[in-house]
Subunit: 301 residues, 3 copies
Amino acid sequence: MNIIKQQPKHFVSLDTLSLDEIMGLIEESLRYKQGNMPPLFDGKTVANLFFENSTRTKNSFQMAERHLKVQEIPFDVATSSVTKGETLYDTCKTLEAIGVDALVIRHPESGYYHELVETLNIPVLNGGDGSGEHPSQSLLDLVTIFEEFKTFEGLNIAICGDLVHSRVARSNASVLKRLGANVVGCSPASWWDESMGLEHRDLDDVLADCDVIMLLRVQHERHIMGDIFSKEDYHVRYGLTPERVERMKPQAIIMHPAPVNRDVEIAGSLIEHPQSRIFPQMTNGVYARMAILNRALGGQL
Amino acid sequence: MNIIKQQPKHFVSLDTLSLDEIMGLIEESLRYKQGNMPPLFDGKTVANLFFENSTRTKNSFQMAERHLKVQEIPFDVATSSVTKGETLYDTCKTLEAIGVDALVIRHPESGYYHELVETLNIPVLNGGDGSGEHPSQSLLDLVTIFEEFKTFEGLNIAICGDLVHSRVARSNASVLKRLGANVVGCSPASWWDESMGLEHRDLDDVLADCDVIMLLRVQHERHIMGDIFSKEDYHVRYGLTPERVERMKPQAIIMHPAPVNRDVEIAGSLIEHPQSRIFPQMTNGVYARMAILNRALGGQL
Amino acid sequence: MNIIKQQPKHFVSLDTLSLDEIMGLIEESLRYKQGNMPPLFDGKTVANLFFENSTRTKNSFQMAERHLKVQEIPFDVATSSVTKGETLYDTCKTLEAIGVDALVIRHPESGYYHELVETLNIPVLNGGDGSGEHPSQSLLDLVTIFEEFKTFEGLNIAICGDLVHSRVARSNASVLKRLGANVVGCSPASWWDESMGLEHRDLDDVLADCDVIMLLRVQHERHIMGDIFSKEDYHVRYGLTPERVERMKPQAIIMHPAPVNRDVEIAGSLIEHPQSRIFPQMTNGVYARMAILNRALGGQL
């Protein structure tokens, strides 16, 4: 017990990773996609704590865990002692005490992880924090873009929609600029977030020059849009319609973190359009999360 | 990518299978019961999407998956993005995108699977659709009958109770007639379903001649019976009582898909009666679902 | 089928085990902690039926199952047929019929297991019954005490707090006395339970002589304490404060089954105090449950 304790490999924000580390994770993800599998972690266990609903992120981490032969300790918020008032810290410390090797956490409170990363001896993998960040989604978005263009340098990327409530927008805008992309934002004035430091543009003005259109989900569950415009109005003014797709470059791609509101952010008929990467993003998400888990559990890059 | 895409081996209704295929699945189930195990599917994954409550069907598929070393990707409707309005199609397509190899689905909408089987590239295994069908339950019922009598030809079978709301009745009536059994229906007039094409008989008139009494669950959750008759009345007029069992042939068997309403469809004391196959049906259900999964995942018969 | 049926190795109360058996389980747990692993149970399955919320007990059994390579059949009360009125007996018999090898059950009804142990052919492992017992928690408490002191004989142990609603108090008071410890109870008069046969003492009078202070959870979910005293009052009069810890023997230990109400039973700052065994108890719980499962599944001690 005389050895120096190593800091757990938390994964809470891409901002804390160097560009080298980020590029390493992207390339690792794509190696997994090509069938080069990492070492298995037989005997290691992970708990997935989702304090907000999820299909994609949770199931994607679970698939990544199975590929890595990591065992899952099921954690169901609704039937846990959280309902008896147990704090997040005590819940996580309990899972550490029973031997869980890493925690995937989604929580409605932005920055929930600050206390945890200072005190836990096991890594915290952020599956989304309030309106903060969603770094595993950002990583899979980066994997999808890099797989397509083999670079980020000089790419024209428009992030479109509800920027102010989106944790994906925040994570992505920051890292894409660091990686050399030209990023603009397109959104209704009421959903614009000045603090992201993006240039505000009209989608119709930039569409023809974009390499990547990143659509954001209209957050019904966080934000009622009825007061501002109807779904139909939003679709016509800000959504991706078949007419707008016609004006995109043929090699440009469409992205969306999903779940999609069909015919709001994007016409339902475009979700599986040849230029759409919406479902391939989900496929890449499994490989991205394998890279995140491999890093957390002490595997080699 | 030049190869011809093979159609996924959906399992949505016994009506779409030939009698040869059905007999193949029955015999395969019984081989598993005798200890002849199929090849294992290590590395394959299945998600079980239950949009209606279940113990037997869900746990039975889960047990079959474990016997086959198929990994389960847990799917909990209540904490999924379905709560954010995601469609069934988008949810299933998401699971396909993250690499799930087959979907077991129970859904309250009859025929929910029609859209899915035309569009998904992975098999859909129907765990019950509304008041439509419940083909894995039918298969386990067939396995139980065939195990007992080694044939279906000429067997006298009475399906008794709430025919109109029962997806088991519909599946079973159809396939048992195809297999050569004589099937009659016994039910209160208000629960009779003319469209099944069965002869309507009084249970007390056919009891002595039956080889199989298939009781149906009174669907409290779908149908309030209080208006029509009390539980006690139902039991006396339509339920299986110890007196009625006395009049059955000694080699005849009693079946019920469960969960049982004790002392409604059947006296509680008869559930584990020597002629009851209620719990053995559940045991057979695991082997039947192994056969269904083996077929879906590309194993050999 | 001519062989004599062996009685399943239920684990419902420490009262039914001899002191030799209990000491055997304690020593077995500590052997696992030292890395001597039991045989694996590949192919065996366990279902965990929690009719009351839990983090520690459920996750701890699940971790023990994974260490033993026992497969879990997920059971979710909220989406099971229990919601259709299925009885506990029928639910358990169903799981037996589909081939589950052991059941871990937590249920709000004290003594729920009496009917089950007479009828089921698979072992029932009690994860807590109403205000009855919580024998796996007792076993892990014993493991923690024995690990510390290498004996129970002559130890001075105070069980403190809400004795009347605590299933841990009942289990522990009984077994610790059998093992030779001197056990007293410290509690508000309204939470005193004469039937446990303990001497009633004031915590401040016994503190300096105790080897073990076992704090109990104030059961908010079972008992509203607002009428009697505030949280602050309780903490000052009955809780473990930093001042009280100063008066404990330096080698004495603090225990609590958790979840802890911080600053009620114990000051939040003391939970990870050097003399606290609260998180180590959870770690030991996994080893204790491995011993319980190993016994139930037919492994050798």
